[in-house]
C-alpha cells in the first residue's frame, strides 16, 4: 500500500478520499488554490501544498503544478477525485511517466471512453447495446439538419469531447436544431476547444441507471449493482438512489455482466461507472465515467464496501480478493446533492458566504460535506457544497429519513437545491417509483413548497425588528440577543 498520496481535487470529494486514506494509514497531501487556503480539504489533510492562483485554470487544472506538488511532498500516487483532471488521459499518462501511480484507469481506457464516438464504436464491437443514432460527429448546422431527418426526433446533441452534461441539448423538432447547435457547440468550444457534436435518438421516458464496476490489474472484476440517477435537470443529477426501483435481481445480473464486458473491452482497471439509458426493460450504453462518481456513496451504504479503499487497493496492485457473490446488497440508500443554486429561479447559480450552518445527524445519515462557517461560495468552482446520504431498510424508510435529514439542514448565506429535493421527495409518483429523467423538469419549483409562508413572514418581520433594536442599542450585545419576542398564552407552568 502507498505510504503517501496526493489528492488532486478540492471540496467534498477531496475530503472523502482523504478520510479513507487516513483510515488505511496512508498519509494525504492536499493541493489548494489561493481561494481554498482555508478550505476543509486543506485543513484536514496531513500535508498541504499551495498551487497558487484563484481560478481552477490556474491551479487544479494545471497538471505540471500537481506533479510538482507530488514531487515536493513525496507522494507516491495521485487520486484525481472527479472533475478537473480525473478524465484527462494526457495527465494520467504524465503521472505514470513521472514515476507515480495513477489511482484511476489506464490512459487509453480514459481516451476511448472519453470520446462519445470512439466509445460507441468500441461498445458496438463488444456487443454492448447502444442507443440508435449517428456514429460520426456533426460539423455544422446544415449537416445537423440533414442527419436529424435520418435519426428522427427527438434528438440529443452532445459535445464529442465534453462530459458531465455540459454542452448537451435536446431538440424536439427540426426548427430547433439551429439555435441548439450554436449554443451547444459554443459551450463545447469554450470548455474543451472542440465544437463537434454527437447526435443520437433521444430515448423518451428514459430512466438513468448506472452500474458501479471495479477491475483489478490481474483480470479480476466485480460490479456493485446499480444506481438510479433519473432525478436530474439539464443532465445535472439532484437525487440518486441504490438500488433502482426498476431493476430486479435477474436484470441486475444481466446489466452487471454487460457493464463488466464494457470495461473489459477497453482494458479497464480501477473503479468506474457504466451509464445506461433504461426504458421498459431495455437498456442502452450511454457512456462510461472513468472515475469515482459523485453519487458513489449510495452504493457504499447498500453494499458496505468502501469504494475509495477498493480504488487504493487495486491501484497499489492488490487483487480484488472476493467474488461477485460476496457483494451483498442490503436496504436502500438515497443521496441528495446540496448545490449552490436557486431552484425557485430555474437553478441559477447562487453565491455568497456561508454564515450559518446546521448539518443533519442521527441514525443512518451520512454527510459528505466541504462546508464550513465562513466559506465563500464563488462562481468559479463546482456548485456542489455537500451531499446528504441516508440508508434505510427499505425505500420508503429511506425516503422518510431523507426528508427528516433535509428538514434539519440549514445552509445560511447561499441558496441551495435542497427545497427542490424536498419537493421531489414529497411527490406521490416519485414515492411510488414512477418517474423518468424529465420528472424534475416537470415540477413547478418557482413557488415555495413549504407550508409555512405566514410564519416565515412573521419571522422575517421580527428579525428585522430585532436587528433594528440592536442597532439602536449599539455595538455588540454578546453572542445572544437579550431581547425575546413573546406572545405566549399557553405555557402551562409558570416560569
Amino acid at each position: 500500500m502507498f505510504r503517501r498520496i496526493l489528492v488532486a481535487n478540492r471540496g467534498e470529494i477531496a475530503l472523502r478520499v482523504m478520510r479513507t486514506a487516513r483510515e488505511m494509514g496512508v498519509e494525504t497531501v492536499a493541493v489548494y488554490s489561493d481561494f481554498d487556503r482555508l478550505a476543509l480539504h486543506t485543513r484536514l489533510a496531513d500535508r498541504a501544498v499551495a498551487l497558487g492562483g484563484a481560478l481552477p485554470s490556474e491551479s487544479y487544472l494545471v497538471g505540471e503544478k500537481i506533479l510538482e506538488a507530488a514531487r515536493a511532498s513525496g507522494a507516491e500516487a495521485i487520486h484525481p477525485g472527479y472533475g478537473f483532471l480525473a478524465e484527462n488521459a494526457a495527465f494520467a499518462r504524465a503521472v505514470t511517466e513521472a514515476g507515480l501511480t495513477w489511482i484511476g484507469p489506464p490512459p487509453d481506457a480514459i481516451s476511448v471512453m472519453g470520446d462519445k464516438i470512439e466509445s460507441r464504436r468500441a461498445m458496438q464491437a463488444a456487443g454492448v447495446p447502444v442507443v440508435p443514432g449517428l456514429v460520426d460527429p456533426i460539423d455544422d448546422v446544415d449537416a445537423a439538419v440533414e442527419a436529424a431527418g435520418e435519426i428522427g426526433f427527438p434528438i440529443a446533441l452532445k459535445a464529442a469531447a465534453g462530459g458531465g452534461g455540459k454542452g448537451i441539448r435536446i431538440v424536439r423538432e427540426p426548427s430547433g436544431i439551429a439555435v441548439a447547435f450554436r449554443t451547444a457547440s459554443g459551450e463545447a468550444t469554450s470548455a474543451v476547444g472542440d465544437g463537434r457534436l454527437y447526435m443520437e435518438r433521444y430515448v423518451q421516458r428514459a430512466r438513468h441507471v448506472e452500474l458501479q464496476v471495479l477491475f483489478d490489474h490481474h483480470g479480476g472484476a466485480v460490479h456493485f449493482g446499480e444506481r438510479e440517477c433519473s432525478i436530474q435537470r439539464r443532465h445535472q443529477k439532484l437525487i440518486e438512489e441504490c438500488p433502482a426501483v426498476v431493476v430486479d435481481e435477474g436484470l441486475r445480473e444481466r446489466m452487471g455482466e454487460v457493464a463488466l464486458r464494457a470495461g473489459h473491452a477497453v482494458g479497464y482497471q480501477g473503479a468506474g461507472t457504466v451509464e445506461f439509458l433504461f426504458c421498459e426493460g431495455e437498456f442502452f450504453f450511454l457512456e462510461m465515467n472513468t472515475r469515482l462518481q459523485v453519487e458513489h456513496p449510495v452504493t457504499e451504504m447498500v453494499t458496505g464496501v468502501d469504494l475509495v479503499r477498493e480504488q487504493l487497493r487495486v491501484a497499489s496492485g492488490e487483487e480484488i480478493g472476493y467474488a461477485q457473490e460476496d457483494v451483498v446488497m442490503r436496504g436502500h440508500a438515497f443521496e441528495v446533492r446540496v448545490n449552490a443554486e436557486d431552484p425557485v429561479s430555474g437553478f441559477l447559480p447562487s453565491t455568497g458566504t456561508v454564515k450559518n450552518l446546521r448539518l443533519p445527524g442521527g441514525p443512518w445519515v451520512r454527510v459528505d460535506s466541504a462546508l464550513y462557517r465562513g466559506m465563500e461560495v464563488g462562481l468559479n468552482y463546482d456548485p456542489l457544497l455537500a451531499k446528504i446520504v441516508v440508508w434505510g431498510e427499505d425505500r420508503g424508510t429511506a425516503i422518510e429519513r431523507m426528508r427528516r435529514a433535509l428538514a434539519e439542514l440549514n445552509v445560511g448565506g447561499v441558496r441551495t437545491s435542497v427545497p427542490a429535493a424536498l419537493t421531489v421527495l414529497d411527490q406521490p409518483a416519485f414515492r411510488e417509483g414512477d418517474f423518468d429523467t424529465h420528472f424534475l423538469e416537470s415540477l413547478d419549483l418557482s413557488r415555495p413548497h413549504g407550508a409555512w409562508v405566514r410564519l416565515a413572514a412573521a419571522i422575517a418581520a421580527v428579525h428585522r425588528h430585532d436587528q433594528a433594536r440592536r442597532r439602536a442599542l449599539g455595538a455588540e450585545q454578546g453572542d445572544r440577543s437579550g431581547w425575546v419576542a413573546r406572545d405566549r398564552t399557553e405555557r402551562i407552568w409558570p416560569r
Binding site: 446546521r358 462562481l379 413557488r447 415555495p448 409555512w452
Partner: protein
C-alpha cells in the same frame, strides 16, 4: 410597526406591537402567537407558535431576508412602512422602463442584438455563461433596443442592467 412581506408574489402584512417588553404579532390583521429567540448570532432561532416548535434559521437583513423552516427556504422581500412609502415614490418617478437585468452572476459570451434593432418576444438578446452553462437571455416582449449595457466578455452580477428596450411602435 407594520411590515409588508412578499414571498413568491404573495403579499403578507405583519404588524408588531411592543408592550411591556413583549411583542404582539398580527399577520394580515389576525393575532399570531409567536415566541422568537435567537440561539446564536449566526442565524439559528428558536420559534414557538401555538404550541408548535421550529428550529428555524433566518439570514440577511434590510429588505431581503431568507427564512428556512424544516428545510424549505422562504425568500422574503420585506419593507417597513417608511420604506414602502419611499419605494412607492420611486416607482412613480421612474415611469415604465424596459430594462432586462441579469438575474445571475456570469460572463457575457455573445451579444446577439444591436441598438435600434427591433426584437420579438422570446428573441435571444445575448448569451450569458454562468457556472459553465450557457443561458440565452430573451426579450420579455416585443420592442426596440435602445441601449446595450454590456459587451462580450463582460462579467455581470445579479441585477446588472443588460439591455434596455422601448415598446415597439405599432
Amino acid at each position: 410597526m407594520k411590515y409588508f412581506a412578499r414571498i413568491a408574489g404573495e403579499e403578507i402584512e405583519v404588524e408588531l406591537v411592543e408592550r411591556l417588553g413583549r411583542l404582539s404579532v398580527s399577520v394580515d390583521g389576525e393575532p399570531f402567537p409567536l415566541e422568537y429567540e435567537p440561539v446564536d448570532a449566526l442565524g439559528q432561532v428558536g420559534v414557538l407558535t401555538d404550541g408548535l416548535s421550529f428550529g428555524a434559521s433566518v439570514e440577511g437583513g434590510g429588505e431581503r431576508v431568507a427564512v428556512t423552516i424544516a428545510g424549505h427556504t422562504y425568500h422574503v422581500e420585506i419593507e417597513d412602512e417608511r420604506e414602502r412609502a419611499a419605494h412607492a415614490a420611486e416607482r412613480r418617478a421612474a415611469g415604465s422602463g424596459g430594462t432586462v437585468s441579469s438575474v445571475m452572476p456570469g460572463v457575457v459570451v455573445t451579444v446577439l442584438v444591436g441598438e435600434g434593432q427591433q426584437v420579438e418576444e422570446g428573441e435571444p438578446l445575448l448569451i450569458l455563461e454562468a457556472m459553465k452553462m450557457q443561458n440565452e437571455i430573451v426579450a420579455p416582449g416585443p420592442g426596440v433596443v435602445t441601449t446595450v449595457h454590456v459587451e462580450q466578455g463582460r462579467s455581470v452580477t445579479n441585477g446588472d442592467p443588460l439591455v434596455t428596450l422601448r415598446e415597439a411602435e405599432e
